[in-house]
Amino acid sequence: MEVDKKEEIASESSEEQVVNPWEVSAKDGGKIDYDKLIDQFGCQRLDESLIDRVERLTSRQPHVFLRRGVFFAHRDFDLVLDAYERGDKFYLYTGRGPSSEALHLGHLIPFMFTKYLQEAFKVPLVIQLTDDEKCMWKNLSVEESQRLARENAKDIIACGFDVTKTFIFSDFDYVGGAFYKNMVKVAKCVTLNKAMGIFGFSGEDHIGKLSFPPVQAVPSFPSSFPHLFPGKDKLRCLIPCAIDQDPYFRMTRDVAPRLGYSKPALIESSFFPALQAKNGKMSASDPNSAIYVTDTAKDIKNKINRYAFSGGQDSIEKHREIGANLEVDIPVKYLSFFLEDDAELEHIKKEYGEGRMLTGEVKKRLTEVLTGMVERHRMARAAVTDEMVDAFMAVRPLPNMFE
């Protein structure tokens, strides 16, 4: 499920923005137009009334990503909340395509949010590691992709998921049985032409790629996990993901009613910008475009100071006069993702935007926040043993998963 730029694809005309699971680029090197994307994909904006409802139902402050509009679009999230209020629970499904060992903060965002959802709503979670996908698309060996899957699982576990409510699985290990039966059912409902239309496959692509989409679709159906949800065929599924994964789930939602299953609901995030800004998102291939979870405090400080694109003015005088351009400033953008305190963020935006605060100060604060996060992650990661990974990945029932 991981998103990387697909180098082979000849980029479509730069007149239109391109957003699909393998490519994300904005129009004419500008910013991604999320409103247009919502229109184009046909999903809905996550408005304040929904956020308030979440706050009311969970009796806690909504996650910073909701408050700041990082998770900004959804499909049927309101229906999930309706059902929850009636006492009908749901389960969470998210995943990662383990293509590299180097994880950056952008990769952690859906997991941080999913952890919040798990705690706030007290629901179970399945996490899919699509090692088969990466084996096919990135041309990795089977062993290598499996190894990367386990390594990534450790970082995922370090985000703080509760082992008594979480099932992590890799496709190579788990596909078969009830899961495979659902895959075949889904595959029967999607013609070759349709798949080519949705995913951009062509006659040159190998058949492995063509047959992959059902693998990512069926974790949305509770019957794929008979050890977890026996007899609960009507259990709803909520999928937190980045918005470029929407095509997979449009297909799934289309197929679900034909199989007698509920349509999965989605809650979608925008892209985490690269340090140097430019149009796309963080890329695992350019180390200076991102903050990695293995970066030291010194690395983080360096990267922020040298590469983070600043919206401040060229000279101090000019800056004090005009203020910073908050639209393009990366440190403020990053703070809006990770600085928990709303009041402090507002203060920084005001002072910086009106020229009283300098870029250096903002970058310093950001460095503090990110260093804290990365440290905490590193400590948790160090505590994850192979036995713990085995426990999370064991095919076992999860009693008390809704407590």
Binding site: R53, R56, S59, R60, Q61, L79, D82, E387, A391
Partner: protein
């Protein structure tokens, strides 16, 4: 609490205030984290009830809206209680209030809002220089040494229907405060007049204790005056002297959603219409979800649930803090500790739980079958 009473037709009543675009109005997200504004968000809901006659009289029931300052003052007048009124800019502390209301008018009061572990609430209204020792108070109430702490902001809004800096004995006029215990400083009785906020912190009124008593009795309350500085021994043969003032009912905040079926059946657009009671932002330290179950099943779930586990640890820490450290800033310190540490500790607790589970899991795989 409100949603079951809202008639959807009411929302499109012609004369009701314009705000009901998309069924409700809510201030900009940016302002909604300002604690004062959030609590004042109760005000927009008042508009819904100011729709014209076709509505059932129930919608005008004061108990739902929360008494306003004007209603209180006219009530005092009706009861022929003599008071003097002083208007000033909104004040949040006694020091600020003292700038605008001189002590010649009467004795200023400090008003504290506490809660105990079993979700029972107390208003303590005292002379400014009376020393209120929370540890002693907790023991005298029979709650042990660290049994009470400052009530969270949302309780202020939900139970007392007042804003920050506005705790006052008059808040018990609200039906929502019926289970809140009110204890008044004995020393008030030596004053000709005492000063309180009449449900709003941009007004202060001074009145005599007999005036206050008359008002309390009119709303069915027996005025209770206590020597707040006394520190009697509490032990096996000396029962806690204030235990009789502990409320018999605990209060669950926020209320669990228990909407009527018709509310859910309405299509997604009207979902926003059901949102009538804004929630002041809960602190991360509040126990999640079903508060009732905390009270009942606390034994088992403390060890299963990382968040409850952390709450237990912080409770004990606060208790120790109160017993070791003197001074009235201790409560604020305890709250800060709680707020800042809860998230960190919960993360650690989850990792601990995962580690323990994994070790057990591994042991399970190596387990020899039982000998026959």
């Amino acid at each position: 609490m409100y949603s079951s009473l809202i008639d959807p037709n009411l929302l499109i009543a012609k004369d009701s205030q314009a705000l009901l675009v998309n069924g409700y109005r809510k201030p900009n997200l940016k302002t909604s984290n300002d604690p004062i504004r959030r609590i004042n968000n109760t005000k927009p809901t008042l508009f819904i009830f100011s729709a014209p006659a076709p509505c059932s009289p129930k919608f005008f029931d004061n108990d739902l809206m929360g008494f306003s300052k004007d209603q209180l003052l006219s009530q005092l007048q009706e009861l022929e209680i003599d008071y003097s009124k002083y208007e000033h800019p909104p004040v949040l502390t006694v020091e600020e209030q003292a700038k605008y209301v001189s002590s010649s008018e009467g004795a200023l009061s400090k008003n504290l809002f506490f809660k105990d572990k079993k979700h029972r609430y107390y208003i303590i209204s005292a002379m400014v220089d009376t020393k209120v020792d929370m540890k002693v108070l907790s023991q005298r109430l029979g709650l042990g040494k660290g049994g009470i702490r400052m009530a969270p902001e949302e309780a202020l809004a939900e139970l007392l229907q007042v804003s920050l800096g506005c705790v006052t004995p008059f808040a018990v006029v609200n039906e929502s405060a019926r289970d809140v215990s009110l204890l008044l400083d004995q020393k008030f009785k030596n004053q000709t007049r005492c000063i309180f906020h009449p449900l709003s912190n941009n007004v202060s009124i001074s009145l005599s204790t007999s005036g206050l008593d008359k008002f309390l009795q009119s709303v069915g309350r027996d005025p209770v005056y206590v020597d707040l500085e006394a520190n009697p021994v509490v032990g096996k043969d000396q029962p806690p002297d204030l235990a009789v003032y502990v409320p018999s009912n605990s209060v669950v905040i926020p209320e669990l959603p228990n909407n009527t079926p018709s509310a859910q059946a309405s299509p997604p657009k009207n979902v926003s219409a059901e949102k009538t009671k804004p929630v002041a932002s809960p602190k991360p330290s509040k126990s999640p979800g079903n508060v009732k179950s905390v009270v009942q099943n606390s034994g088992l779930s403390v060890f299963k649930n990382p968040e409850k586990f952390v709450e237990e640890i912080l409770d004990k820490t606060s208790e120790l803090l109160f017993s070791e450290v003197k001074g009235e800033n201790v409560e604020a310190l305890a709250e800060t500790l709680r707020k800042r540490l809860t998230s960190e500790f919960t993360h650690l607790a989850v990792m601990y739980k995962n580690t323990a589970y994994s070790e057990g899991f591994y042991a399970g795989t190596q387990c020899q079958p039982k000998r026959p």
